[in-house]
Symmetry: C2
Subunit: 490 residues, 2 copies
């Protein structure tokens, strides 16, 4: 094989630039390739030579080459060094918006990599998912699903485009369903979304501005998402106590804001993700008063609203909303099946219309089959029946999980007692390296959701979920995990 | 009832500002309400008084009040004048990004209002949709659908989150399906999207930059969408002849571009929407050479690829693509059912991975039921069988439509002869007011898709579709329309 000599380079990065040096190297290579000066097959000098040429550490060169490799622009060939293998689209990648670039906090990147690892590891066979935000697939109501499919088979005669707000039958069914929680919303105030995540996406592009502040519980599920951060908004975490968000801490921040109009509050008042806390009735009333007085609109995420185990159902904020300041988000993902990709927004008609118009520009609406299927679950009464059984099962799993924790974790951890939902927020006393714990657990086929993913600062917490594993599986994994923690603490 | 006196106003709009006067009035009122200076129930002076106060025409006041009404901030009360009825969210609306604001061309707004009218009128009972981009719901394969539902009922035991690229079974089935068109793509190069519109959305946020130029056929379906324009990109229309896009016109523009990297070509080479033209094989090869030489990446929209009536199938550009410069978009919306919301992207693995990651941040993937359903259609062989029958039916409808046009339109219009897809592009000779034609047609319960919706300049064309109406319906509506046109021409 003929050995191609490496290309000659005379350029050097500018060390005084605000652009990181490795990034300058990436851009330099991309430009050379884009201009056609370095055709496919061009060989780059060795890493050592490049480091000398650029007058930088070899690790900087490695970082740059790794990024170029990930773009598909170069490839390391054994024996032949690094070569240009670009394609045209790959060249578009580097200058394109990297969503994580929009985020101001440096913490995000680390977070992001843990989430990516979790997303990947969830599909590894035999992995015990001890913190996952998903219902045990074995709890899926197969018999009811068969009945739904039969109905779909009989009643669906075509699958055309739907109107912007979504299937009227489904909005009607959701309207009735929400009445049981004290929320009275006509179908014209309900917009069907492709899951709650899309609802947040729509709110971020339609109602909020770059630079807006989203106040939210600390910790919060929202921190694990990138939807608001990617749109250039800031998350601000407000501490919680066992009655919910301590919103009084907000007073000072709101006064200091120049554009009061541009901030909102995002809250999961019921069966909070990740802490499992349910906001007290008194706190709900105070919060509504506070937000009304301060003109601070609220996004109420009701994903776990339907999973309260006790007869005493907490009142949704939307049910107390007299001025239209609450946007309520509902979802079938946590209570039934995420694969349906069905969520809904309840808000004033003008808001819902606006969001619906933009939804049409984004994906022409959610799947009609999914909408028909969930409408059938709801209107047949099957869903209510299913929920009753599901809550009994989850309550049983919670009781068992708490007893396991009491037996094996008491010495070195503390946790809260959830009244619904999926989660126990467990905090380890003393110093422990959480990254190492995550890795050690994975080695033992246990997948954890570290608290840092949800928080604004470092913590020693884990989001445990008893919704995905059977009692036996939970106990087995929890015992192993307790051993791992003990070993690390010693 | 106590009559509240109207509020006193001393402010005046700045007529030298670049902000339109009506917009200044809207902002002024919003600020007053936002600051709490004008509480709910505040009464505004009469339109005549406002016009005098602001020293503007009354029509300017009316425009401003209409906009404020649409935001839900004011309401006209008979006898009590106009009142502030704001809620907190409504106040967020005005300063929030209005997608249409991003568009540079003034043409867009008019266009937009026609499209909105069409979207609305499509749901009016008894309306004959003579230009709609949707398959006749009566052609939906009900029996096959029942078999698919049975299979779903048997084989779906849960509906969890799927991996970022989508259901592996579906990607496998699409991979096989695309082989019949000469496209060899492993499942790892296929990303499932919620329809093709979302594919364009993903490309616009991941791969392109604000200010990028999208070259495309003139006229083009893309003009009727807002996806690229909303993201701050420019559409540039390239004329067509009967062999497809006349790309040589591009040479000059490309040379003049400062950032060559940021332009792409979007094309529907097969059964083009809205003209029905299929690009010749020779033109395809020339185009591929041109784009490769000029490093101009291509988005190939294959929405109508499966609807070629003749045995001679045109080769997709993607099948000629040796350097990875073509991103192919497939869709089940035009050939089977838009309500499935299933589309797919075929591209290099690095591109597909990137788009898939962002898709996860937008909506966690497409509906699992839809994905299972389409996978079953494909892998059972039912889809192929269905397509054969569908094409026979569409060909029959096309022949009938052409004979109707020959009989009733020859004197005053000309049109092309499509070899597949849905559309006939009909152009009226002489001067005719197309807005008036649209209105007159609607009065006669005929819904038209005026060519202006798809074009970059005024035209006298209509996109006719024979896919939505039966032969009898088409003939009946076409005869009525011919009369309306004749009357207008006289």
């Amino acid at each position: 094989m003929k050995r191609i000599p490496p290309i000659q380079i005379e350029w050097k990065p500018d060390k005084n630039s605000v652009t990181p040096v490795y990034q300058q190297i990436v851009q330099f290579v991309c430009e050379k390739v884009a201009k056609g000066e370095w055709p496919i097959g061009t060989r780059l000098p060795s890493q050592r030579t490049l480091a000398a040429l650029f007058e930088v550490n070899r690790s900087t060169v490695v970082t740059a080459l790794e990024e170029l490799t990930s773009y598909g622009i170069i490839e390391g060939c054994h024996g032949a060094g690094t070569q240009i293998i670009s394609n045209t689209w790959a060249l578009l990648l580097p200058p394109s918006p990297d969503w994580s670039n929009y985020v101001t906090s440096g913490f995000f990147r680390a977070n992001n990599s843990i989430i990516q690892a979790i997303n990947h590891l969830e599909f590894v066979p035999g992995m015990m998912r001890l913190g996952t935000g998903e219902l045990d697939p074995r709890l899926f109501p197969e018999k009811m699903w068969k009945r739904v499919c039969e109905s779909l088979s009989q009643n669906t005669t075509s699958l055309g485009y739907l109107e912007p707000l979504g299937l009227p039958e489904l909005r009607e069914a959701i309207s009735h369903h929400m009445e049981t929680f004290g929320i009275y919303a006509p179908p014209s105030c309900i917009l069907i979304t492709s899951g709650s995540l899309q609802a947040l996406q729509l709110i971020s592009v339609c109602l909020l501005k770059r630079g807006s502040t989203i106040y939210t519980e600390a910790p919060t599920y929202l921190k694990s998402l990138q939807v608001f951060q990617s749109a250039g908004m800031n998350l601000s975490g407000i501490p919680m106590d066992d009655k919910g968000i301590q919103f009084r801490n907000l007073q000072h921040s709101l006064k200091n804001e120049t554009q009061q109009n541009s901030s909102i509050l995002y809250t999961i008042p019921t069966n909070h993700n990740p802490t499992g806390i349910t906001m007290s009735e008194a706190r709900r009333k105070e919060l509504m008063n506070f937000c009304t007085t301060n003109r601070l609109p609220i996004i109420e995420d009701g994903a776990y609203q339907e999973l309260c185990y006790d007869a005493n159902q907490p009142t949704p904020l939307k049910a107390m909303d007299e001025t239209g300041m609450v946007i309520y988000l509902g979802s079938a993902s946590k209570s039934l099946a995420p694969g349906l990709r069905i969520g809904w927004i309840i808000a004033a008609e003008s808001i819902v219309q606006r969001l619906g118009d933009v939804k049409m520009q984004m994906d022409y609406g959610a799947s009609s089959i999914s909408q028909w299927a969930f409408a059938e679950f709801l209107s047949s009464g099957m869903y209510q029946h299913y929920l009753t059984n599901l809550k009994t099962e989850l309550k049983h799993r919670r009781d068992h999980a708490l007893s396991v924790l009491s037996r094996y974790y008491k010495d070195f951890a503390y946790w809260n007692l959830p009244n619904g939902g999926f989660y126990i927020w467990l905090t380890i006393k003393g110093n422990i390296n959480m990254e190492l714990l995550f890795e050690n657990a994975v080695k033992n086929k246990i997948l954890l959701n570290p608290g840092a993913v949800y928080d604004f600062k470092h913590n020693n917490s884990l989001r445990l979920s008893y919704a995905y594993t059977s009692c036996e599986e939970f106990e087995h994994a929890a015992i192993t995990l307790a051993e791992i923690i003990r070993e690390q603490l010693e």
